[in-house]
Amino acid sequence: MRHLLSASDLDLASATSILDVAEEMQQVQSRPVKKLPALRGRTVVNIFFEDSTRTRTSFEIAGKWLSADTINVSAKGSSVSKGESLRDTMLTLDAMGVDAFVIRHPSSGAAHQVAGWVQAKVINAGDGQHEHPTQALLDAYSMRHHFRSIGSDGFAGKKIAIVGDLLHSRVVRSNVLLQRTLGGRVVLVAPPTLLPTGVETWGCPVTGDFDAALAEADIVMMLRVQRERMAGGFFPSEREYAEGYGLTEARLAAMKPGAAICHPGPMNRGVEISSAAADAANSLVLDQVAAGVAVRMSVLYHLLGSDEGAKQ
């Protein structure tokens, strides 16, 4: 694998391999000494043009536990304002001999553009409203764990309802693409103003009826709804949003037996998710965070671990 820019870069074999190796990586997390030597001598630069706590930290830990030299660069604020183009910023760092960039950027497509410019490998850690492939992988990892825990295996036929601000969400785009590969059946739920143009071509049912989708869902994935969207007039009030599209206590009670809750975080308790649902026994939210490190270790290993250079 040259880069991980989109969940569509993964075929079934490579996606499954990433999830399987992530299982092994998670074993390491329970050891007293968590370090593996796999990426010793490799340099991974986490360059974040947008704030992120969990993704950046999780990539940093993942790199360190694999013994890579991990450097965090906070590049928040547009490079335009610094008078430097994105291309120049990235070429400058690339010239220092970086093996991989983990890039987060507020603009859709930034990771794709960077991959065309630099020698290093590029992992997309979220680009604008486009994609977030490692989030989709850790979601899949958590779901797979959950399915196994209830004596079921595989994604085939499983119904995954993704609910909320689909328009601005990179998480939903990557999940739709990855589940198309893994075999899960995604149902999209959103108010009409938060549906992306052309969502009907994504190959998933789309509905505004959360309750109907909830009744059948094996996984209910709640997306964060940002408060500025309300200011933008996408919906009238938080109350109305929660009423139609929030995972309320009543909806928590209406979930199918064995169904579980995902949320990519950070959560707006009381808006898209009630506290009761966030902290429920069938909430996978903290499992997702733990899975984030293991999955990102696996991704780094798949991109850098098998190279000639990795063996020094």
Binding site: S79, L86, S108, G109, G198
Partner: protein, 427 residues
């Protein structure tokens, strides 16, 4: 800036209507070929078409202000390579062309550096700010003799300001050339056509109706005021329909389409290549079909290039941040030949009307867009209708390299361009 040599005899050319003729040029005008002296310099135009020099109503020359992207010299050299003998320099320079003095400065640059005639476009509002009118009357009365006014790059979105501008320019036969973009439906972040592509790519889109709602308002304001409205770079099927309706009503509206909106479509942005970021954005197939039909049936009067050179550093940004715009002067004729003529949708006389005669009329340019007959100014282009080639963006006369046709197999029609009797380009 021309290699003018007094006189020139072009032999064996065909005119747009198919007539075969020799053209004798003397002192910058077409003269009686019987009067050509024996040893006169000749161009053998056997197998070539001789067309009136092309006229572009929509050109960004970037001077003054962004001479690193383009200058009057480089932009008009690109124009000459594209078969143009006249371009209209848009007002969104730095400083903005919103006073008589600024207009006369650009006019002087054109006279000094131009490889073709440079007509100056004045801003509609001060500083392109969309509020107070620029000095329209003084610009019209200046030595630049401005007749075309445009805030291009921005829409005159305030209905009242638009009404006043239309009313005001009527007294000196001016025309308001509008960049039609509703700033609310297509805000500053909107960077591609709102479609399944924008949805999948997560790029903020602008719907085709953000253009046509402004066109619909403006044609009604043109009817109200009795003034001339020109709709820049029509890119959508809905706008074509509105203009067709307005023309049927007798409203004084003209419309323009760019070469890129005739040929290039939305999927080209799928790799986030900022070369293909342009405003209005590249649209989908049904819109391309509509603007082609509009150009063929005359709903769309002209092809205007919207030649928009940008320095590399202004394109090497994320897609939503990179500046919009693409080159057009050098390949405009190639695109129109490819899309309209070679497909049988348009004949050569109609191409001359759309790319030379009509833009000259709209801009009230004297001595351009004229038939190639004795006594007319010698502004013409020699065209090889069958030549093709792969476009090499690096071979451009423009200072910029944001050429969306780079690597594309296209007609390569321009053999020579002659302005005021002098050869400004020869292959």
């Amino acid at each position: 800036m021309t290699t003018s040599s007094g006189s020139l005899l072009i032999t064996g050319a065909r005119l747009a209507d198919g007539t075969r003729t020799d053209l004798y040029i003397s002192n910058g005008v077409l003269a009686d070929q019987a009067s050509a002296p024996a040893g006169v310099e000749r161009i053998d135009a056997d197998g070539l078409l001789a067309l009136p020099g092309l006229v572009d109503l929509h050109t960004h020359l970037r001077q003054p202000g962004r001479e690193d992207a383009e200058t009057v010299a480089s932009g008009t050299a690109a124009a000459a390579r594209g078969g143009y003998t006249c371009v209209h320099a848009m007002a969104n320079t730095d400083p903005v062309t919103d006073t008589a003095e600024a207009a006369e400065y650009v006019q002087a640059l054109g006279e000094r550096d131009g490889h073709c005639q440079v007509r100056v476009v004045g801003a509609v509002t001060k500083g392109l700010g969309g509020a107070g009118l620029a000095e329209l009357g003084l610009m019209a009365a200046s030595s630049a003799g401005i007749r075309v006014f445009s805030d291009d790059g921005r829409c005159v979105d305030d209905s009242l300001v638009m009404r006043r501008a239309l009313t005001y320019v009527k007294s000196f036969d001016g025309v308001i050339a509008q960049h039609s973009q509703d700033p609310r439906l297509a805000g500053p972040g909107a960077c591609c056509h709102e479609s399944e592509y924008s949805g999948r790519l997560g790029l903020p889109g602008w719907p085709s109706q953000a253009e046509s709602v402004i066109v619909a308002r403006d044609v009604q304001l043109a009817e109200l005021t009795g003034s001339r409205l020109h709709v820049c770079h029509v890119s959508t099927a809905e706008s074509v329909d509105v203009v067709r309706w307005a023309k049927a009503r007798g409203i004084r509206v003209t419309a323009e389409v760019t070469p890129h909106h005739l040929l290039l479509d939305t999927p080209l942005v799928s790799n986030f290549d900022t070369t293909f970021k342009v405003n209005p954005p590249l649209r989908t197939a049904e819109h391309l079909e509509a603007v082609r039909e509009g150009l063929a049936d005359g709903t769309i009067d002209i092809v205007g290039t919207d030649h928009a050179p940008h320095a590399r550093q202004d394109k090497d940004h994320p897609f939503d941040v990179a500046l919009p715009g693409m080159l057009g002067l050098e390949q405009a004729l190639a695109v129109v030949v490819d899309v309209m003529v070679n497909t049988g949708r348009m004949d050569w006389p109609t191409l001359v009307e759309r790319m030379s005669a009509a833009p000259a009329r709209i801009g009230r340019v004297v001595g351009q867009g004229r038939p190639l007959v004795v006594g007319e100014p010698a502004n013409l282009v020699l065209v090889d209708p069958s030549a093709r080639g792969v476009v090499d963006g690096a071979a451009s006369a423009s200072r910029a390299r944001n050429n969306p046709y780079h690597g594309r197999d296209l007609p390569d029609p321009v053999v020579a361009t002659i302005w005021k009797g002098g050869v400004t380009y020869r292959r």
